[in-house]
């Protein structure tokens, strides 16, 4: 009933009653999303700080321990995640142009690439579990020279693990967006939820862009 009245006045159905116009609603959503992303950056910031301290304390150990990581798998995962970021950006662009089916294709591609990332990560993790290259007191591996090699794997699992949780969260939201796109909830006039999902997904990509050289490319 409310919506009927609103539409009669020329308000689109997706415009919540507490906003003056569509533009204000969109800008508010974006402001809220960026503030959330700020808290996400600070969350990872704590781990980056811990990483900086330990690496500056044990530079040689970090160099030796990083050889236990598979550079090929790491580089592949970087390419996979960047590509998924690109397809996510293209999904938003497709909806800006009102092309629903193309949006869904791009969202499915993004999901497929995100799954690929997680599968590769699973093989990397499984290999390390098998060798006992585990965090902290669970570390039993004997093949790495240097002081406190378990700290490298503590940081590795903490940072890539938290990042992996973000990948799973991002995939859930992308899946939800896929469902809503299929339901016809979005159009060229209203695609804010997909745009916000995209911002989140790009941040996940952004974090990995820094994790990759910090763990796989130590010299």
């Amino acid at each position: 009933m409310h919506d009927e009245a609103a539409r009669a006045e020329g308000h689109p159905g997706f415009l919540a009653h507490h906003f003056t116009d569509v533009e204000q609603q969109r800008e508010s959503a974006k402001l809220g999303m960026w503030i959330f992303l700020l808290t996400e950056i600070l969350l990872f910031g704590g781990l980056f700080c811990a990483y900086a301290i330990y690496r500056s304390w044990y530079p040689d150990m970090f160099h030796n321990a990083h050889k236990a990581l598979d550079l090929t798998l790491g580089t592949t995962n970087t390419i996979v995640l960047i590509t998924s970021s690109l397809t996510m950006a293209l999904a938003i662009r497709s909806m800006q142009l009102g092309r629903k089916n193309l949006t869904m294709v791009h969202l499915v591609l993004t999901l497929a690439l995100a799954s690929t990332f997680l599968v590769i990560k699973y093989f990397e993790y499984a290999h390390k579990f098998h060798l006992g290259q585990l965090p902290g007191k669970f570390y039993t591996y004997q093949g790495i020279e240097g002081t406190n090699p378990h700290i490298f794997f503590t940081m590795y699992f903490a940072m890539t693990g938290l990042h992996g949780i973000h990948v799973i969260a991002g995939m859930s939201v992308i899946g939800w967006m896929l469902y809503r796109t299929a339901k016809g909830h979005f159009s060229a006039a209203y695609y804010t939820p997909i745009e916000m999902t995209g911002l989140y997904w790009h941040l996940v990509d952004l974090v990995w862009i820094f994790l990759f050289p910090l763990f796989y490319l130590i010299r």
Binding site: V22, W34, A68, L71, I79, Y139
Partner: protein, 130 residues
């Protein structure tokens, strides 16, 4: 938040996304390639400069910060700035402890659990794969 920066319906050309994507792939290749050379401490510097460039490309174009209201860029910038302050000030402490008190500068090696029961190194396990 004012509509002076109104870009509703601002659709970037496909070319922009593909160019940025290609640049990200190339930079990934460069950072892996550079890591094969020994530049001493500059390896980390170069790797971080390349990562920051990639990060800015993602933020500016995929996240539209270059075209959007500059308020969002400020929020992003503040997050980065405060992390920098956080890390630098913390490291003033952790890097200088030994100068003040040698005991504090000791590595935590003796307390770590893995040193309690360390069997002889078995060569079968020492095969790192790279």
């Amino acid at each position: 938040m004012k509509s002076g920066s109104n870009n509703h319906g601002h659709v970037l050309p496909l070319r922009v996304y593909l160019t940025v994507g290609a640049a990200l792939f190339v930079l990934t290749g460069i950072t892996v390639w550079v890591s094969t050379f020994n530049l001493g401490p500059y390896n980390l510097v170069v790797a971080m400069i390349i990562a920051a460039t990639k990060g800015l490309l993602v933020a500016f174009f995929f996240m539209h910060l270059f075209y959007d209201n500059k308020l969002y860029f400020m929020i992003f910038g503040f997050a980065i700035a405060f992390i920098a302050i956080f890390i630098v000030l913390t490291m003033f402490d952790t890097q200088a402890r030994a100068d003040v008190n040698p005991i504090e500068g000791r590595v935590i090696q003796p307390e770590a659990a893995i040193y309690e029961q360390k069997p002889a190194l078995s060569p079968a396990d020492s095969s790192v794969h790279k």
